[in-house]
């Protein structure tokens, strides 16, 4: 928040329903692969792929590639920067939601 700015600034990378859905999953879990996120988020494969790329490019999530039983597996987890960003986002949204009428 810049000086003089009363209303908290919202991180637009996080403030998007599809991305937020994936981030909630990753925040609740430790690590998950693409298929797991696909099933639990209810998103299409294309949409999830786009959102994961954006989050990875933004440094919010990290991808780890490995071979399991000869099959490639890519798992995703929140980065420490991602956790901090979500913490800030939560605080900002909390302030905003607190002044909204019931």
């Amino acid at each position: 928040m810049t000086e003089g700015q009363i209303v908290p600034e919202i991180d637009v990378l996080l403030h998007e329903p599809a991305r937020l859905r994936v981030l909630v999953l990753l925040a609740a879990l430790g690590r998950a692969d693409f298929m797991y996120l696909l099933r639990q988020s209810g998103m299409s494969k294309g949409n999830l792929s786009v959102q994961m790329t954006r989050l990875e490019e933004g440094g919010i999530v990290s991808a780890e590639k490995s071979l399991v039983d000869g099959r490639p597996r890519t798992t995703f987890a929140l980065t420490s920067a991602g956790r901090k960003a979500l913490g800030k986002y939560k605080q900002a949204m909390g302030e905003i939601l607190a002044v909204l009428p019931d």
Binding site: A32, F34, R39, L78
Partner: protein
Amino acid sequence: MSEASPQIETRLFKAFWDDGLLDIFCGVALLAVGIGWGLHQVLLASVVPPILVPLWGPFRRKLVEPRAGYVEFSQARKEKTRTGLKVTFALCVGAFLLGVGMFLYLRVASIEEGYWVAGFIPGLPAMLLGVGALIAVQLTGARRFVVYALLMVSFGAATIALQFGPAMPMLASGMALTLSGAVLMVRFLRASAEFEEDA
């Protein structure tokens, strides 16, 4: 953040067990023990459950993970699960040893000595396993294990009342768990088809 979403984490962990593989494994183990007791091959039956434990991982990786995806839960959840598994395992071993002890006792006891004991002991292992099923509810969050626990206790009580052998409650419980697991597995595989087409 993980502390802020315990309900979501709990629901995700509960859903982790919805594929039916755990039910099938537990059911097959009970069936094996029941068949072993029924054929008076107690030691042979004791081999099957320990064989099933290391098979769980490979089966899950081959059958479930390609369809449900891979997930690692938080460290706190892993520790809680590990403790619960140890308690459940100890109960299963206890139930099995109780059954073996009972089997051996009835073979060496005189008719008078064994008469009153023989009446209720055959149902006890299933009842103890019912307690194990309740611990599984706490462990996995899968409420169907409450039904399994009730079934096990009922089968144990019926065994005592109707003076069946110890194999009956094991076979009946094993059959119930295996069938229920098979239904869940079929549902899971059907639900996975759309994701396989999509992938």
